[in-house]
């Protein structure tokens, strides 16, 4: 069951119905049961690993109440990471181990994949444990409530990464049925379906066409640049579309989840880009990795010893750079133990470190030429520059192997370009194709991208859903019906494959 399947919609409708028919006091139990059933339907016996993770997180968090035990936190993190590696890379430990895991989780060995959302459970769980350790939240005494927080079904597949302090209260307090929450939630989900099924589904086809399904592409030259841009747009539409569905589904239950995207393509610097792209991961890395590192005894010691040698500012910058490297190493490894993710992480780390290095000269330049640096033209330049600096990272993350990905990039200089328009005159696949899409799908892609631009621009100033609710019922219904019909007709589902959600694999 994926978030864009009919079965998910039926499941969600049933869960919402039972949720609001239950007295508020017991609603969290309904959500917990729904989450466990959802997990079972998606991953069968892997539920046992979810319970195991939750059990470990619960026990350790309770143990922190008796005093600050730093070693215990490290032990917990180590256990969870080892378990994650064992489950995500079971193949490394031999066929027998895979068979064992398959048997206990009622899966066929051939189709063995890591338990659903286990990476997100890990991050959410570590965040909760560290918060308890730091004393910012109190350890929950009821195991089922911890389980409910960790397994909340809309968010378990791809996040956002929730904080106990934000989500737990909302889960436990229960909610009265709100027509507005229902309508707004459905509308948000609908927009997610547009992004994933209508736009990302087609972008995926274009990306695979341009990259030759990563088996050897006939495209080169300027198309490589286009591919890099398409990869970035594809990952954005896919992931932010998923977030719209997740946040919308939670909203129907009266639960507000944190946003994960905030117009990242309008960012004017790389740090700002990362405050707008996968926001909850960025904040998690900042609070639990960067903060833990900079506040650690070794980092403080290093800062102190460097101060005398290179000065206060440079010492702080050097410690920050080491922290950034550490953060991006965690970022790369969390996505997967692969050269492509490490390369992407190194690329982003390099950009951020570059920013730190040139921070002082830039400040001086700004103060010297304030009129120029604050002009609209310069701000646009910064946005465009950040966009072009940011997009190769997405490409690096999506390429299956470092070698083939870089070889493809190199063709920009080595081979002539393929045709933008390809005409096939004979056979079942006859037709005119633009970047792998037939003329109809290509038109839908362009129109839907224009629609996305319009809606996004409008939404920046005021929530589009509020705008919609303020207009007359006839045009409002006409717009909503048109969007639903557009998703039904133009969506990549059924026999058309929109591809799995990219972030579901991490």
């Amino acid at each position: 069951m994926t978030l864009v399947s009919v079965s998910f919609l039926i499941f969600l409708a049933a869960a919402v119905l039972v949720y609001y028919l239950t007295p508020q006091k017991g609603q969290w139990i309904v959500l917990l049961l729904a989450s466990l059933v959802f997990y079972w339907l998606c991953s069968k016996g892997f539920l046992i690993f979810l319970l195991l993770f939750a059990g470990i997180i619960y026990v350790f968090a309770r143990s922190f109440e008796t005093g600050k035990k730093k070693l215990l936190v490290l032990l917990e993190v180590a256990i969870l990471i080892v378990l994650l590696i064992v489950l995500k890379y079971a193949g490394w430990f031999g066929d027998g181990f895979v068979r064992f895991l398959s048997t206990i989780s009622f899966q066929k060995p051939l189709s063995f994949v890591a338990p659903l959302g286990i990476s997100y459970v890990l991050l959410t769980g570590i965040g909760y444990s560290v918060d308890v350790f730091r004393g910012t939240v109190t350890a929950e005494k009821n195991f089922l409530k911890v389980l409910s927080f960790l397994s909340f079904f809309p968010a378990i597949t791809q996040g956002p990464i929730n904080r106990f302090s934000d989500l737990s209260g909302q889960l436990m307090e229960g909610h009265r049925f709100s027509y507005e929450a229902l309508v707004f939630g459905i509308q948000r989900m609908l927009w997610g379906f547009v992004k994933k099924l209508v736009i990302a589904g087609r972008l995926n086809v274009v990306m695979l066409e341009l990259t030759g399904s990563w088996q050897g592409s006939k495209y080169s030259g300027a198309y490589v640049v286009l591919t890099v841009a398409i990869c970035s747009l594809n990952i954005f539409m896919d992931f932010s579309g998923c977030m719209d569905i997740v946040i919308g589904a939670a909203e129907i239950f009266g639960i507000r989840l944190p946003e994960n995207f905030d117009h990242p393509y309008l960012a004017r610097s790389m740090p700002e880009f990362w405050r707008k792209w996968h926001i909850t991961l960025g904040e998690w890395l900042r609070d639990y990795v960067m903060f833990s590192f900079t506040m650690s005894a070794p980092a403080k010691k290093m800062n102190k010893s460097l101060k005398g040698k290179v000065g206060r500012k440079t010492a702080a910058a050097l410690v920050s750079i080491i922290g950034v490297l550490f953060v991006w190493l965690v970022f790369g490894l969390w996505h997967g133990i692969s050269g492509t993710f490490l390369l992407a992480a190194a690329y982003y780390a390099l950009l951020i470190i570059g920013g730190i290095v040139i921070e002082e000269p830039v400040k001086r330049f700004r103060s010297k030429y304030p009129q120029f640096t604050e002009s609209k033209g310069f701000q646009i330049f910064r946005t465009v520059r950040t966009y072009f600096l940011g997009i190769p990272g997405a490409y690096l993350m999506l390429m299956p192997q470092v070698k083939s990905g870089l070889q493809f990039l190199a063709t920009i200089f080595t081979r002539p370009a393929a045709q933008f328009v390809v005409k096939i005159t004979e056979g079942e696949g006859a037709g005119t194709f633009l970047l792998g899409l037939d003329i109809y799908d290509f038109t839908v892609l362009i129109l839907s991208l224009i629609l996305w631009l319009v809606v996004t621009t409008l939404h920046r100033k005021k929530d589009v859903r509020i705008r919609l609710s303020n207009i007359h019922i006839v045009p409002r219904w006409a717009i909503l019906l048109a969007v639903v019909i557009a998703v039904v007709l133009f969506g990549f589902y059924g026999d058309l494959n929109a591809g799995s959600f990219i972030y579901q694999g991490y």
Binding site: Y179, D438, W477, V488, L496
Partner: protein, 348 residues
């Protein structure tokens, strides 16, 4: 309450729009017999696969013997589908005999895209849900269930499968590839003048070795189970069940023997038109009578098979010759036969 009323109205409008889209985008596969016009005077029904809807022409049988009947077969329909189809049909019509196409025994769970054709025609009912569930139950390798994951939803909501056909509005081909294929049909018989010549034809009833392919010739447990259900269904409705196999170059000697033994065990009549005596009587011309290489015949081959079948019915069954009765049914069948002749004699 007012808001809830609005929400219900919105959902209703949406449902109507989706139903409309479902209707215009679902392929047109209405090639089956018009049972309302045929009425309830039905002597026989032929159920199974394309092997029979390309090989049994009810209008020729009418012209030869005055017997009424029709084909209720679908492309590559497995016995599971045949069972549920027959179950629904026998609620409306009571024929004297059901001829069950033995080619259906070659399929287990069928092919999703072909099964879809059968499911699309069935109105929503408990039996349809049972059929969808049955198609999802799997062989031991689970290959088909995986392929059917999408199909289960497709079977219930055809728009889920066919939504992408909006493009065909622009191409003018919305009526589907099936429409052209099934353009000339007569009481469920799909007539074609297509012509296929075998370059190196096998002999009739070749052995597996001679045929040069390896596949299962025994009756599977699944097919046995659904055959028994069909048998029980026919017994319940007091309808005689006869096994039939139309001429086919892919029908092996081993399969023939297994089926013959099976029919004897079940005490059933088995008419295998691949046996030497029948093939001689049919006088099939391999240069003229086939329409493709899949055991399907064009109108010339089918006429031979249908005439033989009419003669076989005259000697083995007690159907009344309705040509002499002069009823309303009679007029319809005469019209249908004339229609067929018009197609046959029309210049291409």
């Amino acid at each position: 309450m007012k808001k809830l009323g609005k929400a219900v109205l919105f959902c209703l409008i949406l449902a109507v729009l989706l139903a409309f889209l479902n209707r215009i985008l679902m392929p047109d596969t209405t090639f089956q017999a018009d049972t309302e016009k045929i009425g309830d005077e039905v002597d026989y029904m032929v159920v199974g696969t394309s092997n029979v809807f390309y090989c049994v022409n009810p209008t020729v049988i009418w012209n030869e013997a005055g017997y009424t009947g029709y084909d209720l077969s679908l492309e590559q329909a497995p016995l599971i589908i045949t069972y549920y189809q027959l179950k629904a049909e026998l609620k409306k019509v009571k024929p004297e005999t059901v001829f069950l196409d033995c080619a259906a025994f070659e399929y287990n769970y069928g092919i999703a895209s072909m099964n879809q054709l059968a499911l699309d025609k069935m109105p929503l009912s408990m039996d349809k849900l049972r059929l969808i569930k049955a198609l999802g139950e799997d062989d031991k390798d689970h290959h088909i269930a995986e392929e059917n994951k999408y199909s289960k939803i497709n079977y219930l909501l055809p728009l889920h499968k066919f939504h992408d056909r909006w493009k065909e509005i622009f191409g003018g081909t919305l009526k589907s590839r099936y429409h052209e294929k099934y353009e000339n049909t007569f009481a469920g018989y799909v007539a074609t003048k297509d012509h296929f010549v075998y370059q190196n034809p096998h002999k009739w009833l070749p052995t597996m070795e001679e045929f040069g392919a390896s596949f299962e010739t025994n009756i599977t447990d699944l097919n046995r189970e659904y055959f028994e259900k069909i048998q029980a269904l026919c017994a319940e409705h007091d309808v005689e069940l006869i096994l039939i196999k139309t001429p086919s170059k892919g029908w092996l000697l081993e399969t023939h023997k297994n089926m013959k033994q099976f029919a004897e065990e079940e005490g059933l009549e088995f008419l295998d038109m691949n046996e030497e005596t029948v093939i001689e009587a049919l006088a099939i011309d391999e240069q003229v009578d086939f329409c493709d290489s899949s055991s399907h015949f064009n109108i010339y081959g089918t006429e031979k098979i249908s005439r033989y079948l009419a003669e076989w019915m005259q000697t083995h069954q007690d159907y009344a010759d309705k040509r002499v009765q002069g009823t309303g049914t009679n007029a319809y069948w005469n019209f249908l036969y004339a229609d067929y002749l018009a197609f046959k004699n029309a210049e291409d």
